[in-house]
């Protein structure tokens, strides 16, 4: 056995997806309940039962709970993982699930996340309550930082400065999200957005406006992953995980003296995932980028090599990422217009699976055969890239 992760390329597949309580949960709903309902739907989707699941990867609202989910579902897992690396955690959970299955520690993994942050008004402008003894509590919180908004605002300011980019470049991301959301009956913001309306949106943390910031939604989602040979025997067409990579750096506090626009972090991670998949950028059917803020999409498109540094605004202005374009980006409407229940990585994965199965109705990308997902989490600390496809290999 080699220790090169590329030996896993195409050998695992997502076989079931489910979601619950997207957008606005009902009073009385809890994150645990939504999460377990989404897990039930994912199992029904796959044609599996609770008894088939022996690995559980879960947490909710940043509290670790793989065991609570297992208990609610009556699963006695052989393997649990409640890794919390922010909004991209579900991608990391998928990677950990493949590693665990490969090592023989479990065979069918449930990955789930849920939140009732909107219903509970649990999201605070300052971010999570900070221990005043922690590095953030001592050196960040006393200065009135909006978290995470101000971090991405400072990233945006650096971007605008370095590339002489404009507010309109950020606006293109918000407009693209709304174009897709118009085609998604489950999306929260379905009205088109004009550039004039974008520019009239109030500044929250310069240069970010309200329209640059993702929604605060409720919702839960679940994914079932297993080996490819098992996947082919189940109810739905498998969506194969062809390539993946994750990487971590220090940004929970902003004190590491690094270049915030260094494209190497997202770029190297994506390059590794693409190389492993054997799929080239030009062959991709679509790209899903975690858009907690508009700036995420500009930075990611450039770092991943779809356009030159500073050119992502013009790239989007060309219409290439819009419905009918050659490289659809964020086909659900994204965290900006579809929903954002705290860990949008889950919704990015569900949308990708449904697109590759051809289940997306009005917003379906024609002849979809592959998808690149790029997610991040915890204030630019965690980065994940994953390549999914309808075929397990190109041979």
């Amino acid at each position: 056995m080699t220790n090169d992760p590329s030996c896993l390329a195409g050998r695992y597949a997502i076989v079931g997806v489910g979601e619950a309580g997207l957008g606005k949960a009902q009073p009385g709903d809890t994150a645990l309940s939504l999460q377990c309902r989404s897990a039930r739907d994912a199992l029904l989707d796959a044609g599996l039962t609770l008894a088939d699941v022996d690995g559980v990867f879960a947490h909710w609202d940043d509290r670790a709970n793989a065991l609570l989910v297992s208990e609610y579902l009556g699963i006695t897992p052989r393997y649990v993982d409640s890794t919390v690396v922010g909004g991209g955690s579900p991608l990391t959970h998928l990677i950990h699930a493949m590693a665990a299955i490969e090592a023989g520690l479990c065979s069918v993994a449930l990955v789930t996340y849920g939140s009732t942050q909107r219903l509970d008004h649990s999201r605070n402008r300052a971010g999570v309550i900070t221990d005043p003894r922690s590095p953030s509590g001592q050196f960040v919180a006393p200065y009135g930082v909006l978290s995470p908004i101000s971090w991405y605002a400072m990233l945006s300011q650096q971007y605008l400065h370095r590339y002489q980019a404009s507010a309109e470049d950020l606006g293109e991301v918000a407009i693209n999200a709304r174009r897709w959301a118009q085609l998604n009956s489950q999306a929260t913001l379905r009205k088109p957005l004009t550039m004039e309306e974008y520019l009239a949106s109030p500044l929250i943390s310069d240069p970010l406006r309200k329209a640059d910031i993702c929604l605060v939604s409720d919702g839960a989602g679940a994914l079932i992953v297993t080996k490819a040979d098992h996947a082919r025997t189940l109810a739905k067409s498998p969506v194969f995980i062809r390539g993946f990579a994750d990487t971590y750096r220090h940004h929970v506090t902003p004190f590491a003296v690094t270049d915030w626009l260094d494209p190497g972090v997202i770029g190297d991670c994506t390059e590794r995932a693409l190389l492993m998949s054997g799929i080239t950028r030009s062959a991709l059917s679509m790209v899903q980028i975690y858009d907690a803020f508009t700036i995420n999409v500009l930075v990611a498109l450039e770092a991943m090599g779809f356009c030159a540094p500073g050119q992502a605004g013009a790239f989007l202005r060309s219409g290439i990422a819009a419905p009918g374009g050659a490289l659809p980006v964020n086909t659900s409407g994204g965290g900006l217009a579809f929903n954002h229940s705290g860990q949008f990585g889950m919704q990015l994965m569900i949308e990708s699976v449904r697109q590759l199965r051809g289940e997306c109705g009005e917003r379906q990308v024609a002849n979809a055969s592959s998808c690149l997902v790029q997610a991040s989490g915890l204030l630019m600390s965690a980065f994940m890239s994953m390549v999914l496809a309808t075929e397990e290999s190109d041979q």
């Binding site: 900070t130 005043p132 006393p142 009135g144 101000s150 310069d206 004190f255 003296v257």
Partner: protein, 137 residues
């Protein structure tokens, strides 16, 4: 008489007590390794460069450049509302470390990435003084 809502204040630890005590005396100090000369922020129990625990403190020049910044138009808690709009900035000190602070009394038209800034001090409670910065030039 109304009382102002409480602002989040730092609670010094073994590693950071000297930093906050110096700020109370209106001095900005930075941790420097006596073995290898490496400067680091935030303060830690040992040197991240050579793992030595022979750390000392140097008086920083208090001068640096704005790495990036934002203007907050809404406040994270009521304690900050009276200050709106205010600038949150990352400052690259000439000593090579990066700090976060507000730029006090900033002319929003003059603030820019790369601008030279200098330290000042803001007393926020009887026992706490925060290092802050103002635009130079």
């Amino acid at each position: 008489m109304s009382t102002l809502p409480a602002r989040p204040l730092p609670q010094p630890t073994t590693e950071t007590a000297a930093y906050w005590a110096a700020a109370q005396e209106q001095r900005l100090v930075i941790q420097r390794c006596s073995s290898c000369g490496h400067c680091q922020f935030y303060p830690r129990a040992f040197c991240l460069s050579c793992l030595s625990d022979r750390l000392g403190w140097i008086n920083a020049s208090g001068q640096g450049r704005l790495y990036t910044y934002t203007v907050c138009r809404i406040a994270p808690s009521p304690a900050f509302e009276s200050r709106l709009p205010y600038v949150v900035a990352l400052i690259d000190l000439d000593e090579g470390v990066r700090l976060l602070a507000n730029i006090l009394d900033a002319d929003l038209e003059r603030i820019a990435i790369g601008a030279r800034v200098g330290v000042c001090f803001e007393s926020v409670s009887e026992s706490c003084t925060l290092p802050q910065f103002t635009l130079l030039d």
